[in-house]
């Protein structure tokens, strides 16, 4: 029995190892390439699918809270008609970062199963903690997602309101602060901010 199986294996191997007589080398190379493209493409598409806003708001936790709030803000409706979707701000566009973020997102599936934020009340109670994660992420990557759309280089501060221009000149262009230090709550309502200082405070004279 065993020898029979071994025999078969040896035969298969011989076929496999023999130089191809039916297919040209060119075909094989191309075929391999195509298969690779298909595989990679499929992987990519799966990732893209989870990147869509529709995916995010397929969970009521995300639809009833962050999405409903986003709809009121300038990132959803404005005079230029350009809008930001959830993944624009929440999933880094770099490949490696992207996968790292997806791994972290399994926490959300866990949260879904155990209903960590399945009511508005639970969400509000947990909001400070969740927001804190986002703030530290954006702080650590120097507000990468914001900068994917707004670049400090292309900011013409002479076209900004004096108030904004002065802030950006003093703290942003000097690299002292990053977007999220000053622009918290730009897309959602804020949790209790007691003890969270605005980006421009505590920079001048330490108290």
């Amino acid at each position: 029995m065993i020898s029979c199986a071994l025999n078969l294996a040896a035969r298969v191997w011989r076929v496999f190892a023999r130089p191809s007589v039916h297919f040209s080398l060119g075909f094989l190379t191309l075929g391999g390439f195509l298969a690779g493209v298909l595989f990679w493409g499929g992987f990519n598409t799966a990732l893209e699918a989870t990147n869509k806003e529709a995916f995010c708001i397929s969970c009521h936790e995300m639809k009833n809270n962050p999405y409903e709030e986003l709809k009121q803000t300038i990132h959803f409706t404005n005079r230029s008609g350009v809008r930001a979707t959830c993944p624009d701000c929440h999933v880094p566009h770099e490949w490696t970062d992207k996968i790292a973020r997806k791994m972290q997102a399994s926490k959300e599936v866990w949260g879904k199963i155990f209903g960590t934020i399945d009511t508005r009340e639970k969400f509000l109670d947990k909001r400070l903690e969740l927001a804190n994660h986002e703030w530290s992420r954006l702080k650590a990557n120097n507000s990468l997602e914001c900068r994917n759309c707004h670049s400090a280089e292309s900011m013409d501060i002479t076209r900004q309101n004096p108030r904004a221009a002065k802030m950006h000149e003093t703290y942003l262009f000097t690299g002292e602060r990053t977007c999220i230090d000053c622009h918290k709550g730009i897309a959602h309502r804020l949790p209790d901010m007691n003890g969270v200082q605005p980006g421009w405070t505590g920079t001048v004279s330490a108290k």
């Binding site: 709550g185 421009w200 405070t201 001048v204």
Partner: protein
């Protein structure tokens, strides 16, 4: 005959409010979306543009709450955070270089001075409002106090709207 006359007089009397309101209606401000038959669709006028040039406007009288010269879209003012105070609170003005809220804002209604902003002053936009470039639809005969006193030279010489 007499009865008919009385009826006529009564009818006339009843008509007076209608006639009078007709006269008033002619005087009423011309707003396209103003009084019109409910069956008719009247396009709304375009909204005024916000004035957000950060230029302080003159106060029409000394204790007028100053106008807000900048955008306040989506500024959250609730139990969790007061976005205005992130710049205008005493502790934040050094970094923001914004004017500090007036000392009156620290007093409660009994005149007691508190350590922080008084609850009755917390909701900023009850008194302070931004402006748009909309033209007033009703005239206004307000006269600046300096003009009344005849010493406009001291400044604050903004003309009352005519």
């Amino acid at each position: 005959m007499k009865i008919r006359l009385t009826f006529g007089a009564l009818a006339l009397a009843a008509a007076i409010p209608v006639l009078a309101s007709g006269v008033f209606a002619a005087d009423a401000p011309k707003v396209p979306s103003g009084p019109h038959p409910i069956t008719q669709d009247i396009p709304a006028e375009p909204m005024g543009r916000e004035v957000t040039d950060d230029i302080k406007k003159v106060r029409n009288y000394a204790d007028q709450p100053p106008l807000i010269p900048h955008a306040i879209r989506d500024y959250q003012i609730d139990l969790n955070i007061n976005k205005c105070l992130t710049c205008h609170d005493r502790k934040n003005t050094e970094g923001s270089q914004a004017p500090m809220i007036s000392v009156t804002h620290f007093q409660d209604r009994d005149g007691q001075t508190l350590g922080t902003v008084s609850p009755r002053r917390y909701f900023c936009i009850q008194c302070h409002v931004p402006q748009t470039d909309a033209k007033p639809i009703v005239g206004n005969s307000f006269v600046d106090i300096d003009k009344v006193l005849g010493n406009g030279a001291l400044g604050g010489g903004k003309e009352g709207a005519k």
